[in-house]
């Protein structure tokens, strides 16, 4: 590798040195804690150790009385349908990582928490706007007007198959005209 780095510097003293410096910075930041600063990324790709899970939360999305499932849509359509609701659901949980990081930074650097309200770390602040654009997105993907929408989250236990645990937890309900 040193040969390749030396070659870059030989080809252009300033630009080559800059390129080497940026590359080494990229390598170093891979190991630093804390948030990434793009374009320096940390590509983990499922490297974080996964512990076997006791339960899973799965979305149940009913549009006009019909429960949707992934086989009805392409990969990105299903992700775009369900992603916003999963995101909003996670933001309400204690384990939402950006809020945990916020609290760590406030504790570590003695920051004024009122200057860093939780809303700054959330993405879906406005309920009405969220619902309006969610409906538009659903109508575009399902190709039908939405007269009713029910979103809930069902817990499942994993034991050779997914076994529902109790009732689904309601999350959002909408009916046109109500």
């Amino acid at each position: 590798m040193r040969g390749q780095l030396n070659t870059m510097v030989r080809l252009g003293r300033f630009s080559g040195t800059l390129a080497v410096f940026v590359f080494l910075l990229y390598v170093v930041q891979t190991f630093l804690p804390g948030p990434t600063i793009s374009p320096f990324l940390r590509f983990g790709m499922f490297s974080e150790k996964q512990e076997p899970t006791d339960s899973l939360q799965v979305i149940q999305l009913s549009v006009n009385g019909q429960l949707l499932n992934p086989t009805m849509f392409s990969i990105h359509e299903w992700d775009n349908l369900t992603g916003p609701f999963y995101q909003r659901y996670r933001e309400n949980s204690q384990s939402f990582l950006p809020l945990q990081i916020r609290q760590k930074m406030i504790d570590k650097f003695q920051l004024d928490s009122s200057r860093w309200p939780k809303e700054k770390f959330l993405t879906t602040r406005n309920d009405a706007l969220f619902l309006q654009t969610a409906l538009q997105q659903i109508e575009r993907i399902t190709q039908q007007p939405v007269s009713s929408l029910e979103v809930s989250f069902q817990s499942y236990r994993f034991q050779d198959s997914l076994i529902p645990l109790g009732q689904a937890k309601p999350f959002l309900r909408y009916e046109r005209g109500k």
Binding site: M8, S38, G44, V58, P84
Partner: protein, 276 residues
């Protein structure tokens, strides 16, 4: 230096072609930024993205749809027109602006929908090839991109080693469960559900797959010592993208123009010989 000029032209053509394909794909699948915001925000632990939110940039795009549409058009137009213009004349100042635009655009796109910064990494770095310089000096760019790409990919394998996930029998089966829980719960009889269930139930086989892929990722470290394996690495990477799509339902095809630096190694080496 003809090889280097040919490489530059070829790579520019590939890049513009990919941008065009991306534009068409996003149009068909309704994945333009203005079609995703504000519903599909993603949870990303990245300082730039947080600064964009705090500055009000995301909120501005959300509240001004026409500005968001203009931003989308600007991103695609710039990434198709400026590379072609750069083949004819020195527009280095505009290319620097393109890099800044792409930096903002990728981070903005990464807040929405199925996008991630990693899947759009091409736009951060590959436009460097549109800069004009003396041929010898220009060769720094593909050398730099090559090192970046090799590190980008081999580090994912090393992370699996350092974090211990390589040695956990439950790793891959748990990943399958988490990644495909919607399909497994809502359509358990679907063909792909049954395929994923098989891998979840056969932990040793799924973990073996994880280990093999991780070793393949780590093998890219050899590229720091030799150009010999570059073509093999490129095709391995394409295989990885296909496996990612099949096993993880993740779309990573927009990284291919970045990986293509590995296909141009012989031209780079020829250029280095001429430069000396």
């Amino acid at each position: 230096m003809n090889e280097v000029n040919d490489m530059r032209r070829n790579w520019t053509g590939v890049y513009v072609g990919f941008v065009l394909v991306s534009l068409i794909w996003r149009s068909i699948t309704h994945n333009w930024l203005h079609q995703l915001l504000p519903v599909s925000f993603a949870e990303t632990i990245n300082l730039n993205i947080w600064v964009m939110r705090w500055s009000g940039w995301i909120e501005f795009l959300v509240s001004h749809r026409s500005a968001c549409i203009a931003f989308d058009i600007l991103f695609y137009a710039a990434n198709m027109l400026l590379p072609l213009l750069a083949l004819r004349k020195n527009i280095n100042a505009l290319i620097i602006l393109l890099l800044v635009l792409n930096w903002v655009a990728v981070d903005t796109y990464a807040t929405a929908g199925i996008n991630s910064q990693e899947s759009l990494i091409t736009y951060y770095f590959v436009p460097l090839i549109f800069l004009q310089a003396r041929t010898a000096q220009w060769l720094i760019i593909p050398l730099f991109l090559r090192l970046l790409f090799l590190w980008f990919f081999c580090s994912t394998g090393f992370w699996k080693l350092f974090r211990g996930s390589l040695f956990s029998i439950d790793q891959m089966s748990t990943i399958f469960l988490q990644q495909h829980k919607d399909l497994l719960a809502l359509a358990p009889q679907a063909l792909m559900s049954r395929v994923y269930w098989w891998f979840i139930q056969h932990k040793a086989i799924s973990q073996s797959l994880f280990i093999i892929v991780s070793l393949a990722e780590m093998s890219f470290v050899l590229g720091f010592f030799s150009f010999r394996f570059d073509r093999l690495f490129f095709w391995l990477y394409c295989l990885f993208i296909l496996l990612d799509l099949f096993f993880m339902r993740i779309l990573f095809w927009e990284t291919i123009p970045f990986a293509m630096v590995l296909l141009y190694s012989s031209q780079v080496k020829a250029g280095l010989k001429s430069a000396h």
